[in-house]
């Protein structure tokens, strides 16, 4: 398989399907940033596998020219692990939503992070269930009134940045289509990172979201981590900042392991190479059942 870097422009990654998002949906910006990042990276679309679950956000793979797998709700991560393990040469990206990723799919996150395959996990966090028309999501703020919380939600929100850092993720970042340039750069770095990378993208749902989470509202609480002079190798500081999720919108790279070490598929490959010499021919495989007296 060729992995030679060719020259690509963003529209090489744009498919013929027309997005059916609501006019103004934040996901349009995410998609554009992604096209740009992919063009920058220059891997040909056919060497890219783009996996998603179900949700407005999870439609993204259909809008890219790569191989895509728009699977079922909540299972994009374990599916992506199968893809990457089966063919480690592929660039594997996962698109998800706050419901798809943190609610039904939340149980898969610690386990893929502790394996650390070279997969990029993008969550379009809009604090709501968009596709199913506005129910409360795990990142919805306590007290939020929605069609499924008439009298206000009674539970604390999850904190995706803090959780993934606690799980030991080696790359954690946050962006927004409110800062396209920043988002594009983050996506590029995340995809290039040689291990599991997580990007939380605060992508407004203009139809069911709260006013404060629209691009305009975001701008009031947006803080650029670079401008804060945050050192992305400082994990404890990253954790501290992550606690402000929901109040402030920090954009940039929270944490990036300066010594990422081998990824999961690196380790698997090593094992395969080590054990290969011990293989008996497949047509002799039943020899292992030759009775032996112990």
């Amino acid at each position: 398989m060729s992995t030679a870097t060719a020259q690509f422009v963003p529209k090489d990654f744009k498919s013929d399907l027309k997005p059916i998002w609501c006019p103004g949906c934040g996901d349009f910006g995410v998609l554009t940033a992604l096209y740009r990042a992919l063009a920058e990276i220059g891997k040909p679309p056919h060497e890219l596998a783009f996996v998603s679950g179900i949700g407005c956000s999870s439609r993204i793979p259909g809008y890219a020219t790569s191989y895509g797998f728009n699977a079922v709700h909540g299972r994009a991560l374990p599916i992506s692990l199968g893809v990457k393990t089966a063919n480690p040469d592929l660039t594997v990206i996962v698109a998800s939503g706050d419901g798809d990723g943190f609610s039904i799919g939340g149980g898969h996150i610690p386990h893929i992070i502790r394996k650390n395959p070279d997969i990029t996990f993008l969550v379009m966090d809009n604090f709501i269930y968009g596709l199913t028309k506005g129910q409360v999501s795990p990142t919805s703020r306590k007290g939020l009134k929605t069609v499924s919380t008439t009298y206000g939600s009674m539970e604390e929100a999850v904190n995706p940045l803090l959780y993934t850092l606690s799980y030991g993720a080696k790359f954690v970042a946050q962006g927004t289509p409110g800062d396209m340039k920043g988002l594009t750069k983050i996506l590029e770095e995340a995809i290039r990172f040689p291990g599991f990378s997580f990007v939380n993208i605060q992508s407004p749902c203009v139809t069911y979201g709260e006013e404060r989470d629209m691009i305009k509202g975001q701008k009031e609480v947006m803080v650029n981590l670079e401008e804060l002079n945050h050192d992305p190798s400082d994990k404890f500081k990253a954790i501290e900042i992550a606690h402000q999720y929901g109040d402030k919108l920090h954009t940039g790279i929270f944490y990036k392991d300066p010594n990422p070490g081998p990824s999961y598929t690196d380790l698997l490959k090593e094992l395969q190479n080590e054990l290969k010499p011990k293989a008996v021919a497949k047509d002799k495989i039943l020899e292992m059942f030759r009775p032996r007296l112990k």
Binding site: S15, E47, G68, F69, R75, S80, A279
Partner: protein, 580 residues
């Protein structure tokens, strides 16, 4: 001279009952006998009672057999816990440890066995090996001595096992074994011919394995390069063997965080172009069913092994049942047809697994193998398998011409569309659980939906003509019939032999393909039939009812169904046939 011998033995944890069974069957396999070994345990993880049942024969063995020729009780309390699994009749020779202090005429057994022998097993063990842990070695000596089998093999086994424990232990165990042999020779069972024929010359070269292990080996042979799963009794050994071996072939195995993640990783690997497998039992099947539906919809091959155990729910994890057929056929929502195969014994598991991968890849579909606890864990001495006779099928990739304006779900004559995978230039497409057009674009058109369901179901029609996936036994014009599947089919075969020996004309059909229902095969089979039984280890008569869905069955065809954990016996089936 007997052709056939069935020995059952039970004792407490630490008595080494199961390891005695393992030593014995290994020695028998090396000598060229056919044999079959089942083991059973109490609910404890360790230290509970255990039993083993072994059947030795000079010709192929198709079931563990019903009644014991020889019953060995290291203590009665534990022996009795296994009830119907170790049935004693008036033909049985009963051996038990005199240390139980019970007189032969008082043993707690219903009816009168052929012979009851109180033998100082523990005493012999302690006298020789200085430990009662050698009781099982003494018993091996007794068996070897009385029945004239496997002496060389067993003693070699003892040597291999105990050498590393030092000369004293080794010597003790050797002595314990020979003490048993000596006791047998000195106390012959003269009132019954208990010897067993020698295996035919050239009968060597057999293999010894169980259903789970051979399934895993067959998967590698079939080209499987990915396994994703989650441990569950009684299927975990499939995962475990692959964990030892698959890396050597460039494949990988991942123990995932749960069953859903397991099958999700499998569909991911399949999407990426690899043959992929998962294995589980009932509860895992229930969890995985959403992804089975996705695999049908996205037309991605995968093989799933369900090692059935007692259900519903957690049920009885350590006992065999055949009650997951309904689920296998109908579990995912929507209009889905998913092929199901069932092996009848350990030997058959090899070809069943290869067939499952071939069907999965050729038809781009998930395929379920319905194994069961007994098959998965019983040890069987099997004849060598000529693997060169098997054809390996790979999924059809698009040709270069097809890659121009490639349409992943193209309507074709046989309803199968060539499938690309990531990494293939120009093959890019969107796989999805959403209904889609030929190119893979999401749609809610009723017309397209109808055509796509037709594509996905019709493509499997040729399977219904695969009469080679059915075995028949007995005269094709018999008016009496049996149909049975899985390990129970082995018992039905024995019952049919018994019936034939009694002059009853009855035939038996054993489907390896359970679904889709091969209507014409059954219709042909039923032509001569007036009455019959569909025999299976579940309560609802699942195969019986599934056949009825698609085929008009003879009025006299009845369901003979029994809950799991209650083994069928060949005489029981024979009786039922006679009652028809």
């Amino acid at each position: 001279m007997n052709k056939n011998l069935i020995i059952g033995m039970a004792g407490a944890g630490g008595d080494g009952v199961v390891s005695a069974g393992d030593s014995l069957i290994t020695a028998l396999a090396i000598d060229g006998y056919h044999a079959l070994l089942t083991k059973s345990f109490g609910p404890q993880i360790r230290g509970g009672e255990s039993s083993m049942k072994i059947r030795v024969s000079t010709s192929p063995v198709r079931s563990i057999g019903e009644y014991l020729d020889v019953a060995i009780a290291l203590n009665w309390e534990d022996f009795l816990k296994f009830g119907a699994e170790l049935p004693i009749t008036e033909k049985t020779i009963v051996i038990y440890d005199s240390n139980t202090g019970i007189a032969p005429e008082n043993i707690p057994v219903k009816g009168k066995p052929f012979k009851v022998l109180s033998i100082p097993i523990e005493e012999m063990a302690v006298n020789t090996a200085k430990t009662n842990r050698a009781k099982n070695t003494v018993v091996l000596g007794l068996i070897s001595g009385w029945f004239g089998i496997a002496e060389d093999g067993i003693i070699t086994g003892i040597r291999n096992k105990f050498t590393k424990k030092g000369p004293e232990v080794l010597k003790g165990n050797e002595d314990a074994f020979y003490e048993g042999v000596k006791y047998a020779k000195e106390n012959p069972i003269s009132d019954k011919d208990i010897t067993i024929s020698k295996p035919p010359a050239g009968a060597k070269g057999k293999l010894l394995t169980d259903g789970n292990d051979i399934c895993a080996a067959a998967a590698i042979f079939s080209g499987c390069e990915f396994f994703g799963g989650y441990p569950i009794t009684p299927s975990s050994e499939i995962m475990q063997l692959l964990n030892r071996e698959i890396w050597k072939y460039g494949g990988s195995m991942i123990q995932m965080e749960d069953e859903i993640a397991g099958v999700a990783s499998v569909i991911g690997a399949s999407f990426a172009g690899k043959k992929a497998l998962t294995a589980t039992s009932g509860p895992g099947m229930s969890l995985k069913s959403e992804i089975f539906g996705l695999a049908t919809m996205a037309e991605l091959p995968m093989v799933i092994v369900n090692v059935q155990r007692g259900g519903p729910s957690t049920g009885i994890p350590t006992k065999s049942e055949q009650a997951d057929l309904f689920q296998a056929a109908f579990s995912a929502h929507g209009d889905v047809v998913r092929p199901i195969l069932a092996p009848v014994d350990v030997h058959d598991m090899f070809s069943t697994t290869v067939e499952a991968f071939n069907i999965a890849e050729y038809y781009q579909t998930p395929v379920i193998i319905l194994s069961d606890q007994e098959l998965s864990q019983r040890k069987e001495v099997i004849d060598e398998i000529d693997v060169s006779a098997f054809k390996i099928i790979n999924r059809q990739l698009p040709t270069e011409a097809e890659m121009e304006n490639y349409e992943r779900f193209k309507f074709t004559e046989n309803h199968i569309s060539p499938v690309s995978h990531p990494g293939m230039l120009h093959g890019n497409y969107l796989a999805a659980g959403i209904e889609h057009s030929e190119s893979g674009a999401p749609t809610s058109s009723g017309e397209l939906h109808a055509k796509m369901i037709e594509k996905r179901t019709r493509k499997l029609d040729p399977l219904k003509k695969r009469s080679d996936l059915f075995s028949t036994f007995g005269p094709s014009d018999a008016e009496l019939c049996m149909i049975s599947w899985g390990t129970v089919a082995g018992v039905a075969m024995e019952a049919r032999d018994l019936a034939e020996a009694e002059g009853i004309k009855v035939k038996l059909l054993v489907p390896k393909l359970l679904f889709p229902v091969a209507e014409s095969v059954y219709m042909d089979y039923f032509k001569s039939v007036k009455k019959g039984l569909v025999i299976e280890q579940n309560v609802l008569g699942q195969l019986y009812h599934i056949i009825r869905m698609f085929v008009n069955v003879p009025d006299g065809l009845k369901s003979f169904a029994k809950a799991g954990s209650n083994p069928f016996g060949e005489h029981e089936i024979l009786k039922k046939i006679k009652e028809l």
